[in-house]
Amino acid sequence: MFRMLRGQRGGIRVLAGAGVASLAVALAACSSPATTTAASGATTQAKPTGTLVVFAATSLTDAFNQIADQFQAANPGVTVKFNYNGSSSLATQITQGAPADIFASASPTNMKTVTDQSLESTTPKIFAANQGEIMVEAGNPSHVTSLSDLANPALKVVTCAPTVPCGALATQIFENAGVTVKPVSQEQNVGGVVTKVSLGEADAGIVYVTDVKANGNKTAGVPIPANQNATTNYPIAEIKGAPNPTAAAAFMSYVLGPSGQQVLKSFGFLPPSS
C-alpha cells in the first residue's frame, strides 16, 4: 500500500522548518497503520459515546463525511459534528479556545500553529497526503497537456494565493517544472479555483487531485508528472482539554486504521508519504 514515488523530491520545501523535524519523528513512530491501535491503547477501552467535534480542512469534506457515517454505524451512541473550513481559520479558532476534539489540517504548517501553543494532547500523525493536478474545463477546450502550456499568456490560469496551502503547492509545482506562470487570480481557498474553472471563467487551475475527483465530470483533470508534482501531508491530532477524549481517540484510530484509509484512498487521497 505504500508506494515509493521515484524521483520525488520529498515534501514541499516551503514548509521546511522545525515542524518537519517533529513530524519526521512521528512518521518514524508509525511506519505501518497496524501500530496505531497500540498508540491509542493508553486510553480506556470504554465504548465511545456522545458528541464528537471534528475541525477538518475543507478538502476533507466528502471523505470525512463518509468516514463519520461508517464510524457512527460502528459506534452507535456517537454523533460526529464537523466544522469544515480553511485550515488556517480552524487553527486560529483552536488557539482562541474553540471546543474541538480533533483537528485534521490540510498542511503541517497550520498544525504547527496549534502545537506551538501546546494545544495538542497527542502527537499529530500524518493520515493522508494529497498531490496537485491541473483542473481544466470539461472537454479540455484549451488543449492543456502539460504544465508548460500554462505559461502561455493567452491562457487564464488560476491558483490559490501563495500563502495558503494549495497556493504553496502550486508554487512548488511550478518551481519543480521550471515554468513561470502568471495567474489572473490567487484564490483564498481551493474552492475558489474550482468555481472559476467550473464556470468556464478560467481556462485552467492548480488544485488537489481529490478536488478533480470530487468535481466529477463538471471539469476534467490533467495529471502532473511525478517528477514535477508536490505533495502535502495532512496531519491529525487530538486537542488538549477536549470535551470527549474517548470518542476522539477512537475516531483518530479509525481514520488511521484500514477502514479510514480505504475511504480516503477512494476519494483520491494518497497514503501518508515518507
Binding site: A91, V164, P183, V184, Q188
Partner: protein, 263 residues
C-alpha cells in the same frame, strides 16, 4: 432658545451603553491585537499600499456609478407609476439580502466570460470584466448601489411635493424646481446614501473575490488582502491592514456627521 437640562431614562442609558460597548470592544481588540512593533513595515508594505489604492479607487468609482445610475432609479421608484414597480424595487434590494458570494456567482453567470451578457460582450467588443479593476467595480456596485437607491427613494418619498408645485406656480421651470427646491430638500438622504454606498463598497469581499478574483496590484482590494493574510496565518498583518481600513472609514464617517450636524 434655551435648552432644558437633558435628563435621560436610566434603562435607556443602560441599554444604549451596552450597545455602544458592543461596538467599541471589538475595536479595542483590534487596537490591542495590532503588531505595534512592526506596524509601519506592514502599513508601508507593497501589499498594503497597492490594496489601499485599489480599494479607494474602486469604492469611489462604484459610488459615482451609484449616483449616476442609482438616482434615476430611485426617482422612478419614488415617483413613477407603472406595473411591476414593486417587483422592480424588490429586485433592486436583492443584493442586500443575498450572501455576497452568491452575488458574485450570479455576476459570473451574467457578465462572466461564458455569461449570457458577458459572452457577446467578449466576442463583439473584446471586453472581459472578471480579473480586472472593472470587474471589481462591477462587483462593488452590485452590492452597494441598492443602499443608495433605497435611501434616496425614501428621501424623495418623504419630501413635501407640494413645495415643487409652489415653485412651479411662482414661475420655476422644471430644471429650476429640481435644482433649487427638490435637491436641497433631499440633500440629507442623498448624502447619507452616498456615504453608505461608499462604505459598503469599501468593505465588499465575497462578490469581489468571486467575480473579479484576487491578484495583488490588479484586483486585490483591502478586504481581500486582509482575508488572504488571515488565511495564511499572518494574523498580525491582517489586523494591521484592518486597522488601516477602520481609520479610513472612521475619518469619512466622522467628517460627514460633523458637516450635517452643523447645518
Amino acid at each position: 432658545m434655551s435648552r432644558q437640562k437633558w435628563r435621560v431614562n436610566p434603562l435607556l442609558a443602560v441599554l444604549a451603553g451596552l450597545a455602544a460597548l458592543f461596538f467599541i470592544f471589538p475595536l479595542i481588540g483590534l487596537i490591542t491585537g495590532a503588531p505595534w512593533g512592526h506596524i509601519t513595515d506592514v502599513i508601508t508594505s507593497r501589499t498594503a499600499v497597492q490594496a489601499l489604492e485599489l480599494s479607494i479607487v474602486a469604492s469611489l468609482a462604484s459610488t459615482v456609478l451609484a449616483l449616476i445610475f442609482g438616482f434615476p432609479l430611485a426617482w422612478l421608484l419614488a415617483r413613477g407609476q407603472f406595473p411591476g414597480k414593486g417587483l422592480l424595487r424588490g429586485l433592486t434590494t436583492l443584493p442586500m439580502v443575498l450572501p455576497p458570494v452568491v452575488g458574485g456567482i450570479a455576476l459570473l453567470l451574467a457578465y462572466g466570460r461564458r455569461g449570457f451578457i458577458g459572452k457577446p460582450l467578449d466576442s463583439a467588443f473584446g471586453i472581459t470584466l472578471p480579473f480586472s479593476l472593472a470587474g471589481v467595480i462591477v462587483a462593488e456596485s452590485f452590492v452597494a448601489m441598492p443602499f443608495f437607491v433605497i435611501t434616496v427613494e425614501s428621501g424623495l418619498r418623504s419630501m413635501n411635493r407640494r413645495l415643487e408645485d409652489a415653485a412651479r406656480s411662482l414661475g420655476a421651470a422644471r430644471r429650476t424646481v429640481f435644482m433649487r427646491v427638490t435637491l436641497p430638500l433631499i440633500w440629507p438622504s442623498l448624502a447619507a446614501g452616498t456615504v453608505l454606498t461608499w462604505a459598503r463598497a469599501l468593505g465588499e469581499f465575497g462578490a469581489t473575490i468571486t467575480f473579479a478574483g484576487n491578484l495583488p496590484g490588479v484586483t486585490q482590494t483591502m478586504p481581500l488582502a486582509i482575508y488572504i493574510s488571515q488565511s495564511s496565518n499572518m494574523t498580525d498583518e491582517a489586523i494591521a491592514l484592518s486597522l488601516i481600513l477602520v481609520v479610513v472609514s472612521l475619518v469619512v464617517m466622522v467628517f460627514r456627521r460633523d458637516r450635517s450636524g452643523a447645518q
